[in-house]
């Protein structure tokens, strides 16, 4: 099914939310809709003319309060392929401290009536504040240590593309769980879709009560990786050593690093994923990152299609509200 055909179906407006703030808000049907739509969008990216008019006349603001290369460019390409008018605003946090509050920035933007705002911010919950002030649809492109919903959607897309399903898969997520927004979005999404999610890291980097999200917690990477269908590594930030979360990068790699030896514990067709940017030799050995099981670059490629799908579906919802 192509994008042009999809435009005539009513299923397109099935996202029940105006904003995309958290994957916890999404039902299995909504997640499936996004992933199905992303398949059609991926086909657009394979054409010689990679552009459809779906968001023509719509304005999308990319409001980035944190430096980001891959997420921002991914959104920007997605918006351009959908023919949206895009505007990038990068605001260094330091200048915000001096001047305008987030609420005032939001009101200023709102006065220019964008249809959607994609926000990346270092404070957990910042997109919620924006959603209470703005009439635009808000897309959370990463807020503090809270969530990064489009990353989880593109991860799910990448998994489904290979495994043809999410339900019943053993997914091991290993690394700095405490500070990871990718973790939280993935846990909500994968458990909603019926995957068996294991999380693994040193106790200092495991969020309190994380098992209440329906995941298995282990501090043994061997246990996490054993018979896994998917192994997802999370970035270890170098400054965490100063917070005494672990003694050294060398020791971290020895205890929790994803090595070829550990890879053999997983299923023969295991997928190795990483949201990037990677620390080679810390959370993942280069042989694994560059090896045959790695889908890390597929994740990046799929990011564009999934973000096109999200933008497209949220714009459809917004148009319906205007009509009503």
């Amino acid at each position: 099914m192509s994008v042009e055909q999809m435009e005539s179906t009513t299923a397109l407006t099935a996202l029940r939310h105006k904003h995309l703030l958290s994957t916890a808000d999404l039902s299995p049907e909504e997640i499936t809709l996004v992933l199905d739509t992303a398949e059609a969008m991926k086909e657009v990216g394979a054409r010689s003319i990679k552009k459809v008019p779906a968001l023509r006349g719509k304005t999308v603001v990319n409001l980035f309060f944190e430096p980001s290369t891959r997420t921002r460019t991914s959104f920007e390409i997605a918006e351009k392929r959908l023919s949206a008018d895009t505007l990038n605003i990068a605001i260094a946090t330091s200048s915000v401290v001096k001047g305008e509050t987030l609420a005032d920035t939001a009101l200023t933007l709102e006065a220019m009536a964008p249809d959607m705002i994609v926000i990346r911010h270092s404070s957990s919950g910042a997109p919620y504040l924006l959603s209470r002030i703005c009439r635009s649809a808000i897309i959370n492109a990463g807020d503090g240590t809270h969530e990064h919903p489009t990353q989880a959607l593109l991860d799910a897309f990448t998994i489904r593309e290979r495994k043809k399903r999410l339900s019943g898969l053993k997914v091991a997520i290993i690394g700095d769980l405490l500070h990871s927004r990718v973790l939280r979005s993935n846990v909500h999404l994968l458990t909603t879709m019926g995957a068996e999610v294991w999380v693994c890291g040193p106790p200092t980097l495991v969020p309190t009560d994380v098992q209440r999200l329906g995941v298995r917690v282990t501090h043994s990477i061997e246990e996490a990786v054993r018979d896994a269908d998917v192994v997802m590594l999370l970035r270890i930030q170098l400054e965490r050593m100063e917070g005494a979360f672990f003694p050294s990068l060398r020791e971290y790699f020895a205890v929790f690093g994803m090595t070829e030896a550990r890879l053999h514990l997983a299923k023969p067709d295991v997928m190795i994923m990483h949201p990037g940017p990677m620390n080679r030799g810390v959370e993942i050995a280069s042989e694994v990152a560059d090896g045959p099981y790695s889908v890390i670059l597929d994740q990046v490629a799929n990011g564009v299609a999934v973000r096109m799908a999200v933008l497209y579906l949220l714009a459809g919802g917004a148009a319906d509200e205007d009509a009503a």
Binding site: G125, L129, G144, H146, R181, P207, T208
Partner: protein, 443 residues
């Protein structure tokens, strides 16, 4: 001038009174309490029997923000909020700008209080100069200027040694040391209770142990020095356990709990408004087991005082990202409805115990007048309407700030009237204008 409060249920646990009585006020003093008093020349106010006449409620933990943060609150607006909330007196914390570490600041606060002429104000001085945790403030000077206790509230006293010295020194004047209990390294840059909600929302956590460590430290030092130690705004179940053990061991430790800590949990961080900055306070809203431990401590006597930690912040200051917002909510105008609804009507405690928690005990701990309707006491009276249906409306509050998570809440029980020094300074709408107290308000 004599006023006779005729009828109504008088609850005065300090004098073992709980029954329908009359209270005679002569000028600014209580003149008599008894059945069927008839007094020539007294103005008679007929009190309906479903109202409860109590010694004035005292909130021993309030931030009046003056001097220096008058955009949040002033002594005048704060004491207006106090009388509207049923409090006849408040003790105000020293973390103003400048800090109340000198007679100058104390005198300024007291002169503002005298000008406002509403609730009584008892300033609390700083433990250390500038609350910086280095040198002791001039505690004798603070005492003679009118301070009733010392604290570095907002933060714990910086070191165990300084806290020890403060206890020893203030003990000489029989002044309690009030402590914001918290281990700074364990609290770190936390913004919410360390638990499921903070984990899910990606908020940096503050474990209950951070508070309990401070409580344990203070109890040990109170035992060492023999001086009184009062735990401010307790929130963690481990802290309740520590105080209970300390009391069993005979240590002179007392503690307070704020209404939000016996009512709310950290679930408020997620719903109904995700990342609501009015769910952000320090100590943070904790989980159900902690909230239930506060209720148990209130019921079994471990908790001595209900105090609000009234912490006004301007609308602009709270309308920011969660981790950038200041800690604290206002509490003066919601405390009594919450206490009646959640403690008394819930069957946890009876009214005499509530009066102990909100009047008798704070007066005793701070060694201030009040907490009793004995003859000769100040005529400070809180009249409760336990069955009044109250709908909390932040916009109608007297406080200059409106930062409350209870806006729109419907609660059973409220304040009928507040009398300070014999003057009726507040009457709730249905008892005002054309009601019981209508023509007497402000007299």
């Amino acid at each position: 001038m004599k006023t006779l409060l005729k009828g109504g249920r008088v609850v005065d646990p300090a004098n073992r009174i709980d029954g329908v009585c009359d209270v005679l006020i002569d000028g600014d003093r209580i003149a008599r309490v008894g059945r069927d008093l008839s007094v020539d020349g007294a103005t008679v106010i007929e009190i309906p029997q479903d109202l409860v006449v109590c010694p004035g409620f005292i909130d021993m933990h309030v931030h009046l923000r003056e001097p220096g943060q008058e955009h949040k609150e002033t002594v005048a607006t704060g004491t207006a909020a106090a009388v509207a909330g049923g409090f006849t007196a408040v003790a105000c914390m020293p973390n103003t700008t400048p800090v109340n570490d000198s007679a100058n600041v104390t005198s300024l606060i007291l002169s503002k209080a005298a000008a406002a002429n509403l609730a009584r104000v008892y300033p609390i001085g700083a433990v250390s100069k500038g609350s910086k945790g280095e040198l002791l403030a001039d505690i004798a000077e603070l005492k003679s200027a009118g301070c009733v206790a010392i604290t570095d509230d907002g933060h714990p006293v910086a070191t165990a040694m300084l806290l020890r010295r403060a206890m020893e020194y203030a003990g000489m004047f029989d002044m309690p040391v009030i402590e914001h209990c918290e281990d700074p390294s364990l609290k770190a840059d936390g913004v919410a209770h360390e638990g499921y909600q903070a984990s899910t929302l990606g908020l940096r956590g503050i474990p209950g142990a951070a508070e309990a460590l401070g409580v344990e430290r203070g109890i040990l030092l109170s035992e060492l020095t023999g001086s009184g130690f009062h735990v401010a705004h307790m929130s963690a179940r481990q802290s309740i356990r520590a105080v209970r053990k300390g009391k069993e061991a005979g240590v002179k430790v007392t503690c307070e709990v704020a209404p939000h800590h016996f009512t709310l949990t950290d679930d408020l961080l997620a719903a109904p408004i995700p990342y609501d900055t009015n769910a952000k306070m320090n100590p943070p809203l904790r989980e159900a087991a902690d909230r239930d431990a506060m209720l148990a401590g209130i019921a079994d006597g471990t908790v001595d005082v209900i105090a609000t930690d009234h912490a006004p912040h301007h609308y602009d200051e709270k309308k920011v990202e969660f981790d950038r917002a200041p800690f604290g909510i206002i509490g003066l105008e919601t405390a009594i409805p919450l206490a009646l609804d959640r403690l008394v009507h819930a069957g946890l405690i009876r009214l005499p115990r509530l009066v102990e928690l909100m009047s008798v005990n704070p007066a005793h701990i701070l060694r201030v007048p009040g907490g009793s309707l004995a003859v000769g006491s100040p005529a400070d009276v809180t009249i409760l309407a336990p069955d009044l249906k109250v709908r909390i409306d932040a916009q109608k509050m007297r406080s200059r700030s409106k930062n409350t998570p209870f806006d729109g809440w419907e609660l059973r029980g409220g304040v009928a009237a507040t009398i300070v020094g014999g003057r009726i300074l507040y009457a709730e709408e249905s008892f005002g204008s054309f009601g019981t107290f209508g023509s007497f308000v402000g007299s």
